[in-house]
Symmetry: C2
Amino acid sequence: MAAEESAAPTRIMVAVNESTIKGYPHASISSRGAFDWILSKIVRANTSGFKLLFLHVQVPDEDGFDDMDSIYASPEDFKTIQRRDKIRGLHLLEHFVNHCHEIGVACEAWIKIGDPKEVICHEANHVQPDFLVLGSRGLGPFQKVFVGTVSEFCVKHSDCPVIAIKRNASQIPQDPVDD
Amino acid sequence: MAAEESAAPTRIMVAVNESTIKGYPHASISSRGAFDWILSKIVRANTSGFKLLFLHVQVPDEDGFDDMDSIYASPEDFKTIQRRDKIRGLHLLEHFVNHCHEIGVACEAWIKIGDPKEVICHEANHVQPDFLVLGSRGLGPFQKVFVGTVSEFCVKHSDCPVIAIKRNASQIPQDPVDD
């Protein structure tokens, strides 16, 4: 088995996002679920056999002007939002990267801005991981009609294999559309 | 990491089938691709960390009477077909089970009869693996209309995460619908 052990690590790309729950800090429930699943079910004790690639896609924030005067927004206001978004994004990735460093799993992390499903597929097809892991809210058919799923889109449009990890029933918030 | 190493192995269910190419022996190209992918990308050198569960679903053979007189088929003829199917199924599973034994990966294997996509989901929901791996022919949208895909059905109807492994371009036979 020595030959396999010395082979290049399996590169797993993971798309992570912030929680949508108001006041809820940092990574979404489904992002953390996907990360925990990778560590416990795939990496296990073989920490040198894998490399994790964390992508965080930021959606341009439509509510960005909620807490300032939208009528008199200046170029400086836009810069403030961009700075704030960047800090939030880095803070989100820090959670995952720090955990990887603690347990000795190699990783990379980066931020892109745009429509998550399209950016995830574009980055996956560019970076060419061995597979792509997506956290999923595990919505029923009725909820999907309104919310759509990133994972269905990525299964169709990514060159690499895609696996969606649904949240545990115990982790589902009051409104299943929250995350 | 000792705690993780001593944890119960990750149980990976794999659906395998026979090649549809006439005269082509044993496992389909996509089944072998999925198996190789699991070993090289997931199991790697950590052979004690995983257990593979091989399911082979046999479709009742509509062409079973091709080589005998269909008008005068007797109950004995049906038994002959069933015996032959069983031997072919065992032979298929033997390929995967033997390979697992050689490299020291725990495994189980079993045969069911019925509609593959429905039986795979039923068995997955019964056996509750950590995830399900399916070989896929990686057909384009035009071909899918006529052929359908087992993996799309299983993503929707399985409780566990599902990952479809497409064939390599180099492994595609002359007619991509073949496997």
